[in-house]
């Protein structure tokens, strides 16, 4: 079993107006096999948390820590974090010119595993995973995310998650922009990964509809750079009915 521990994390960014603090003391612990949902109003810092865990250079950690089984994640480079078992399904996956999906997936898998996957098995695995996620076979020959629709990009993020088998996946609004069928397909993918690989999941979302398919063990309400409240799945339903007003007034 693995543990991802975020302790009193403070994060700021440099803007034209100066330094701006976005995360103001986030504390959160996830164990493998668990699913945590994070909900919160726009701009509250959810993507900032996700990107900081992944190591995006824009975000400066001013204090606090992120530990993966006791190892200091903040000391690791972006690629090292991925190799250590962290995966971020991005809210806005970027298009990478010149690199085909096939080439990209194989290179990443090789980097993460530290050795090239056996070609025969790998080709089969990729094909099966694509079929499961209803991704057309010709996507393999296209450049990474280039010209993919919003929903297709999200599915391809989940494809990677299934193939790379991380210990922890952070899904940043993977459900946004998905049609009903895709939502089901993507949720199945996440559930498969958490069952088969004991993956821990941090699911950032605005909507309870995905929580019908992916059952969270914990729900955290994120407001103004902090976890304002936590609870079980019932908290999500409560939020859907009441909105964030109660927290915003407090904030």
């Amino acid at each position: 079993m693995s543990t991802l521990e975020i302790k009193d994390l403070h994060v700021s960014i440099d803007t034209e107006q100066g330094t701006k603090e976005i995360l103001k003391g986030v504390t959160l612990t996830i164990k493998t096999g668990e699913t945590h949902a994070i909900m919160g109003p726009n701009g509250s810092g959810k993507s900032t948390l996700a990107s900081t865990i992944a190591g995006h250079p824009r975000y400066n950690v001013t204090s606090g820590s992120i530990l993966l089984d006791g190892e200091d994640v903040l000391e690791m480079g972006v690629d090292e974090r991925a190799r250590a078992g962290l995966f971020l399904a991005m809210q806005y996956p970027v298009e990478v010119p010149g690199v085909t999906m096939t080439n990209f997936l194989r290179t990443a898998k090789t980097a993460i595993d530290g050795e090239a996957p056996s070609l025969r098995h790998w080709t089969k695995d990729v094909k099966a995973a694509m079929e499961n996620l209803k991704i057309d076979a010709d996507f393999a020959n296209r450049n990474v995310n280039e010209g993919f629709s919003g929903g297709e990009k999200k599915r391809v993020e989940i494809l990677q998650m299934e193939l790379f088998k991380p210990k922890f996946a952070i899904l940043d609004e993977t459900d946004s922009g998905l049609d009903v069928d895709a939502l089901k397909v993507v949720s199945d993918g996440v559930n498969r990964a958490s069952e088969q690989n004991e993956m821990g999941t941090l699911l950032i979302t605005h909507y309870t509809r995905i929580l019908r398919y992916i059952k969270p063990d914990f729900v955290h309400v994120f407001v103004d750079g902090r976890v304002a409240e936590q609870g079980g799945p019932e908290l999500a339903d409560q939020l859907e009915e009441e909105g964030y007003d109660r927290f915003l007034v407090k904030a």
Binding site: D79, L88, M90, P97, G98, V99, A108, I112, N143, F164
Partner: protein, 425 residues
Amino acid sequence: MSETATAMSGEKARIGAPSIAGFTEEGENLSPVNETSSPIGGDAAKAHSHGPAASVPQASRGERPTSYDVEDFPALTGREEDWRFTPLKRLGALHKQAPTGAAPAVAADLSGGATVETAGMDDARVRSAGVPEDRVSALAWNAAAEATIVTVPAGAEGAAATLTIKGDSAEAAAQHLVVVAEPNSSAVVVLDHVGSAVLSQNVEIDVQEGARLTVISLQEWEDTAIHASSQQARIAKDAYFRHVTVSFGGDLVRMTPSARFAGPGAEAEMYGLYFADAGQHLEHRLLVDHAQPNCKSDVLYKGALQGENAHTVWVGDVLIRKNAEGTDSYEANRNLVLTDGTRSDSVPNLEIETGQIEGAGHASTTGRFNDEHLFYLMARGIDEKTARRLVVRGFLNEILQKIEDPQLEERLNETVESELAATEV
């Protein structure tokens, strides 16, 4: 130029085109390197308008003068449509006077029946496929001491000739090459430019009826080389011609390959790959002249740029003349900008004089490899070095594959690798 990368594209289709299948247009024109100093300043003002921005207006690419006589070309000012992006100061005077130095040595490696010989400039095969289109080419044509002629005999199958052209002088020189692919032959001819030279070159390529010829021109010069090369192909009935340029080295390289159809049912593919480093000027100006019916052409050039003042220019002129019914043509240029401080000019130019065609299209894109791409790849466990290589190699691979020679491909892959290694920060 001190500009940061301009990611632009341009086009000027001079037709009131009815909708033609496969026809696309996009982009805008670019400002020239050589701006006019005229106080009237028409150019600068027009530079960003949609249309040619040069001070010497030209109605059509097809009307550009050609001649063996230097005097038919006025002295260059740098404001001409076809010279506006070229820094003349760095041309080693190739545009000013006849280059009289000794031409780079040519060593030939032949197989499958191909032959090579030298002949006087009065040989009948000289002037078989080319006519100078500018002053630089005309000066060299008249200055060349002899012609090196590669012949692929009629009916030869899978012949090959590699000419290693090794420069070892900074003196301006002229060189004349002729490649003759006789009827129904098939061959690959490689022009491998290495060392350093100040060279103005005319290459005539005579692709005779039913022949299949690939010419690969490699510019793997040392950093100091200056190279202007006019490579003109005349493609006879039912012939197939593939032209591949690979430009990595040199301080200034200006290639002007052309494919002119001289009979119906022929096909031309023109591919190119370039990689410009800091300070390098790599320019490729293509012409495909569809003057015959039922011919096909496909043009694809891809380039990468990195480093301060790396400058690439790509201009693709495709002419589809009145009688060229049944033409099927496509041209594209794609650039990948790896760092700040580069400049990439890309101007596809399609002129269509008949509506009776199968298809005609063009595309031009300039994409930037940026930190977000890097982050994305690295967030998947890929280290930075590999990530950069992945992108560049993937991008350029499409052209390398067209070379269809594993050994050559391997060598060029290595060059790409060392280009990348050279400027890693």
